[in-house]
Assembly symmetry: C2
Homo-oligomer: 241 residues x 2
Amino acid sequence: MTQNIYDNQKFFENYQRLSRSTKGLPGAPEWPALRALLPALGGGRVLNLGCGFGWFSRWARQNGAARVLGIDVSRNMLMRARAETHDRAIRYLRADLERLSLPSSSFDLVYSSLALHYVKNLRGLMSKVRRSLIAGGSLVFSVEHPIYTAPSSPKWRTASGRKFWPVDGYLDEGPRSTDWLAKGVIKQHRTLATYLNMLLGLGFSIAKVNEWGPTRRQIASQPSWADERKRPAFLLVAARR
Amino acid sequence: MTQNIYDNQKFFENYQRLSRSTKGLPGAPEWPALRALLPALGGGRVLNLGCGFGWFSRWARQNGAARVLGIDVSRNMLMRARAETHDRAIRYLRADLERLSLPSSSFDLVYSSLALHYVKNLRGLMSKVRRSLIAGGSLVFSVEHPIYTAPSSPKWRTASGRKFWPVDGYLDEGPRSTDWLAKGVIKQHRTLATYLNMLLGLGFSIAKVNEWGPTRRQIASQPSWADERKRPAFLLVAARR
């Protein structure tokens, strides 16, 4: 089973204070880029892997989805998702993404925001995801970017007066332990090629790739984000079955 | 016109001493990975962009290609390519990749090794490449990896006893000047997403991506290459029209 860090009370308390938790999708700076990768949702069935508080599940319904299934392993997340959702076309399910069963040819869109880098057997999950999509269906997801997850010591360094992101171990895939919101949060580092070749090998076609960093406009309103253009924090991918 | 650094005498003298210049394809550590991306060549027509000394052009003929057209901007490179090629099915042409004209639907494979990062208007060239391929034809190329080209100061740094590659400016695309074999060699930094989305936008499908680093076996025979697993030096892409 994947580490269920969202049910760690300290982590969860800190997570609840993030802008993306208090403001929802508009509080996530990468949301406009992720939204741009989505297909039209009109009448579609949506699966949301790692649905968290349900922000996207509700947004999908407001933007035309017929039905949404949100899956998350965290009791904390689902409790709040259920409390804030008043829509019988949205269903939430507690499940470990490593051990999921999915119905075949049942979804027009599988969506996942910043959850898949927690999954060890991602190929197994992606294989199930592919079978769960209708022909022509879409997979749209974000993960922490491999440049972001690669370092053995993932913090900014300064040399000769310049800030750098210290990349090492990029090609050595596997778990990375970081102290983000709590100590010992485990994420899986994979190369960008591994993400893409895994999808291609399962019969997906790649539609678009986005290595996310803030736009100049976003930096103008949030000057502290300027460093985020030095290396991409997030990888966004759109693929088609 | 792209900087024609291979006709800079100092650069060329140093380039001629590299393992890939003296030994040809087996002297390039990424060659086995690049070769693995190639389609079967039997009877095919091959375009080699940035053909250099003609190693690949001759290899393609020895591996079944019917005809090969090698293009390079460097007089130095083409002089040696012509001197070492004794095969009337291989033709060499001197041309700037920025200003190329290509016949349409004429090639089964367009191949390029470590040349496209010199090209400013890569989209223009890739658009011509797509038209020059038959339907189902392949584009296989390598470039310096964006992680490799991104830094403002591209050399290993050490902190807390660990070597790392100092990534900054990853999302800021454009020329990078480095002192590699000669001073002021200009390469174009592009993100990985830009390479892939450019191809997708032109109607290519992505077949495979390789972020090249040495295998453990290669490191065993060349221990000095171990650092090359900390960050990929080359990006290899196979795409289909």
